[in-house]
């Protein structure tokens, strides 16, 4: 029994004598919330910029205590640039200019410049996966601008711009015209046979002399290289197939009077199946949509069985159109962004073995049938159009 204390002493002794290598006091950490990766002007090295949170200033503004620094309020973040032969190298080189060690565990976004993306992002993804600090859940984006500049654009609502970008991505539900891609999602493409990865594209837009970040398009990667992009409509086409559509508006134009009807997406599923009996095989995409009649510019009452049926048909056509657009773009790029290959691998491994080798050329002329089922389940609060003039 008396030995117990000896033990504790021993434990403490070894502990104390061994010191504290991994100890990093909070106040000695530079919390990185965003990483931007550009090519260095010399074309060889990477130039990596970090958005580092300054906690004091983040909180300082919130309480409205004023005073603070007295003069011009500090920005709640600081953008640090560093260059290196690899991303990792650049991270360590950053300490030349930073008083604190960079801490990547709370990083939220990684913004990759187009040029870098065209060269291939495999080394970047590889590093992010291997290192213990970055997380699988951080968002990946591509930008045609300098990634460093993107990181410097202040968010109008959030204190920390990177958090702003992350939130901006997560509101994709509203339109389903942008795809949010995390490191985990993207890395999965690397291990999944021939599926092509995508990433959202972010850009600096200037409105009223103020710089604002805007999510545009979706970048398509072939293997690890940027190959092309999808616009909003094509992106939603892609999301339909993937079953990732969560919300958004489909605007229909009525053929008889040219009025517009907005259909709100409430629930959608997408399913891929393959018909493997015949060659060349056919893929089938089934999309199931539950929608809400959201608004109309015509005076006729659309809440009748026939009219709703008609609307459903129109919606289905619109969706088919979107998917077709995405499909043709994908065929043109030769990038299987829909994961047809993965589907074959999972459900028809035998067939997949057969097609594996020439999958890309096969994909380019793959026959895809699209089946869309639409159900308008709700019509909003009004039972007939809110018109100005009584009958």
């Amino acid at each position: 029994m008396k030995k117990k204390w000896l033990w504790w002493c021993l434990l403490l002794l070894t502990g104390l004598s061994s010191g504290c290598w991994d100890q990093r006091e909070l106040e000695r950490l530079a919390i990185v919330s965003g990483i931007g990766i550009d090519l260095h002007p010399d074309g060889e090295n990477y130039q990596v910029s970090f958005q580092i949170i300054r906690p004091d200033d983040v909180l300082g503004g919130r309480g409205g205590t004023g005073g603070g620094g007295g003069g011009g309020a500090n920005k709640p973040f600081w953008t640090l640039k560093a260059e290196g032969k690899t991303v990792f190298d650049a991270i360590r080189n950053a300490t030349f200019e930073s008083s604190r060690r960079l801490f990547l565990s709370h990083n939220e976004v990684v913004i990759i410049n187009e040029e870098v993306a065209k060269k291939g992002i495999f080394p970047i993804i590889e590093f992010l996966m291997r290192d213990a600090e970055p997380r699988l859940s951080e968002w990946l984006l591509v930008t045609p601008d300098q990634a460093e500049k993107v990181l410097q654009v202040e968010s109008k609502l959030e204190k920390v711009p990177a958090a702003g970008i992350a939130h901006q991505l997560q509101t994709y539900h509203a339109t389903s015209k942008v795809r949010a891609v995390s490191l985990y999602d993207f890395a999965n493409h690397f291990v999944q046979k021939k599926t092509a990865g995508t990433m959202p594209v972010i850009r600096i837009v200037e409105t009223d002399g103020e710089k604002i970040l805007k999510l545009e398009k979706t970048a398509v990667f072939k293997e690890d290289k940027l190959a092309g992009d999808l616009d909003y409509r094509e992106t939603r086409g892609l999301l339909w197939v993937l079953g990732e559509v969560r919300g958004g508006i489909i605007v229909l134009e009525l053929p008889d009077d040219g009025a517009t009807v907005s259909i709100e997406i409430s629930e959608a599923t997408g399913k891929i199946s393959a018909v493997v009996k015949e060659r060349p095989l056919k893929m089938q995409v089934e999309i199931d949509l539950e929608a809400i009649l959201g608004g109309q510019s015509t005076e006729q009452n659309l809440v009748t069985p026939e009219k709703t049926n008609f609307l459903e048909k129109l919606t289905a056509e619109a969706i088919t159109g979107e998917v077709e657009a995405a499909l043709s773009k994908a065929r043109q790029l030769g990038a299987d962004i829909f994961g047809f290959a993965e589907h074959l691998h999972r459900y028809h491994p035998q067939v997949w073995k057969e097609l594996q080798k020439e999958w890309e050329s096969y994909f380019r002329q793959l026959d895809v049938t699209i089946k869309v089922k639409v159900l308008i389940a709700e019509v909003g609060l009004t039972r007939r159009p809110a018109i100005l003039f009584g009958e």
Binding site: M1, L11, G15, Q23, L29, P55, V58, V160, A163
Partner: protein
């Protein structure tokens, strides 16, 4: 080290042999010599009174009574000894045969407690214990008249174990009162008190109490054996005993429980435990004691069982927090920042910004400061104590943060820990020790350090035994049946067995789940009245 211990042991043994020299020498025939004996033994203390008188029997025999003032009842001495011997004896004409003492015992002394004794030491004990010794010239034996009576505290509710519901009585310093309190709770002849005297100089009376037919006899024997082996000169408080007989003297975990409440003691006795009552202390000892007992408050059994279960879980949580929270805080802030949600991390980083010390030091120092404040508050008179805590907690806490010496989250954590540790007062000391050790370990090795510390503690707990019963039972080793008073507080009618861990006799309290069903037939309004024939049939069915 071992050699040293052995030598010590040997020394102790010699000591013991020397310690009992005067056993068994007897009284003389002459009264004066006997009085001289007492004088020699008891000295000239003013509280020892020797009253000589003449026993008016036959031709008048010299006699004396010896007692200690303040420990005896003057009235009893007068009514039962002096008056009958000096006055009543004169009235009648007695025929006294040879056995004078026996005659006095039978005919004259009216006190309820009376005994003959011819050895000297027990007589001294009796005098010092408040009894009156009657010496008669020419007799080689004396009469011991029970006249014990001294100033006692009234029975009050104990401060240390306050309950909201339930009985309000508590043990007092007086042993007899305490045994009486227990008897009043358990009106069952199986409740056994066995008395012994421990402490060479304090001669403290100690009573071992247990319920025959329930308590495990091996444990009872073990308790008695350990008590008998104690060889010290003073036992002033129950804890003196504890430290001598506890299983693991170096362990901070108490393997013997205390209580000041007769209801708790009675419940524990009926679970099959052994209680030890020590004279002059209001706390009684109960053994074997398990870790889990600290979480069982007497109020649990006075409340509804659902609520009691909920509260018990809160208590577990609070206990966990009370030793784990500072360590976790240290580990999270100085090692595993990736585990803190980002917004929280930012606020914490902002709070920590500019403080001069690492978090470990902050936590340990603030913990120490808190303990100091508490200690200062406890020892002082109550009103001042409160002032101290308010000044200490509010003023220092506030000032330390605004001066930028310590980060606000640290103060919050330390304060929270302090409060949680009061939820389980019986394990509070351990919580403090564990808390500081774990915090330091966390400061050295982060969460890994915590795990190491916890493993050590767990291993220690797993190896502890209290009078042969594994300390951590019924959790490890698992005894599912006993969990009904651990994981939950089952309804009383469902706690149909006594704790199995104690391995007592007669493990059944009542039949399983036996309650008293309502004797008023329940109306069944949700059923439509059916045809009389059918109804009868149904009733028949129900009876089956």
């Amino acid at each position: 080290m071992f050699r040293f211990l052995l030598r010590k042991l040997r020394l102790a043994q010699q000591f013991k042999e020397n310690a009992t020299p005067s056993a068994g020498y007897r009284l003389h025939k002459s009264l004066e010599e006997n009085i001289a004996l007492f004088r020699a033994e008891l000295g000239e203390s003013p509280d020892v009174a020797i009253r000589r008188f003449t026993l008016n029997l036959k031709k008048g025999i010299k006699a004396a009574i010896i007692f200690v003032e303040g420990l005896m009842d003057q009235q009893v001495v007068y009514d039962c000894i002096l008056h009958p011997l000096m006055i009543e004896a004169k009235k009648e004409t007695w025929t006294v045969d040879s056995d004078l003492l026996g005659f006095i015992q039978e005919n004259l002394i009216t006190a309820s407690g009376l005994a003959q004794e011819d050895r000297f030491p027990p007589l001294v004990d009796a005098v010092l214990g408040g009894d009156t010794v009657l010496l008669i010239d020419g007799q080689t034996a004396a009469l011991v008249v029970s006249t014990k009576n001294w100033e006692k505290r009234a029975i009050e509710e104990p401060d240390t174990e306050v309950t909201i519901m339930g009985p309000r009585d508590g043990f007092t310093e007086d042993l007899r009162t305490n045994t009486a309190l227990l008897r009043r709770k358990i009106n069952y002849p199986g409740l056994v008190f066995e008395q012994m005297v421990i402490g060479r100089r304090t001669r403290t009376t100690v009573v071992v109490a247990y319920v025959q037919g329930i308590a495990n006899e091996k444990i009872v024997e073990e308790v008695k054996a350990r008590l008998k082996r104690i060889n010290t000169d003073m036992i002033l408080d129950a804890n003196y005993l504890t430290e001598f007989i506890t299983d693991a003297p170096f362990s901070p975990f108490p393997t013997i429980a205390y209580t000041e409440r007769p209801d708790v003691a009675a419940a524990r006795l009926l679970e099959g435990r052994v209680a030890v009552l020590v004279n002059n202390t209001p706390t009684i000892l109960m053994m074997p004691s398990l870790f889990i007992e600290a979480f069982q408050s007497p109020d649990d059994y006075n409340d509804h069982f659902l609520y009691a279960t909920f509260i018990r879980w809160l208590r577990y949580l609070a206990f966990l927090m009370s030793f784990l929270l500072p360590a976790l805080f240290v580990a999270l802030t100085s090692y595993h920042q990736e585990l803190i949600p980002t917004p929280l991390l930012i606020s914490m980083a902002a709070a920590v910004e500019g403080t001069p010390f690492p978090v470990v030091i902050e936590v340990v120092a603030m913990g120490a400061v808190f303990e100091i404040i508490r200690e200062a508050g406890v020892r002082l008179a109550r009103p001042i104590g409160q002032t101290i805590s308010i000044v200490g907690a509010l003023v220092i806490g506030e000032a330390v943060v605004s001066a930028g010496l310590v980060a606000a989250p640290t103060v919050i954590v330390v304060a929270l820990t302090a409060i949680t540790s009061f939820v389980v007062p019986k394990q509070q000391e351990i919580a403090i020790i564990l808390r500081l050790t774990l915090a330091v370990l966390a400061g050295i090795l982060g969460a890994y350090g915590i795990i190491i510390g916890l493993l050590f503690t767990l291993a220690h707990l797993a190896s502890l035994r209290s009078f042969g019963v594994p300390y951590f039972s019924p959790v490890i080793p698992l005894q599912v049946g006993d969990l009904k008073d651990v994981a939950v507080r089952a309804p009383l009618w469902a706690m149909w067995t006594r704790p199995q861990a104690l391995e007592g006799q007669d493990s059944k309290r009542q039949n399983f789940g036996e309650r008293v069903p309502s004797s008023i037939a329940a109306e069944e309004p949700d059923r439509p009245p059916s045809a009389p024939g059918k109804r009868k049939k149904e009733e028949k069915n129900r009876k089956k």
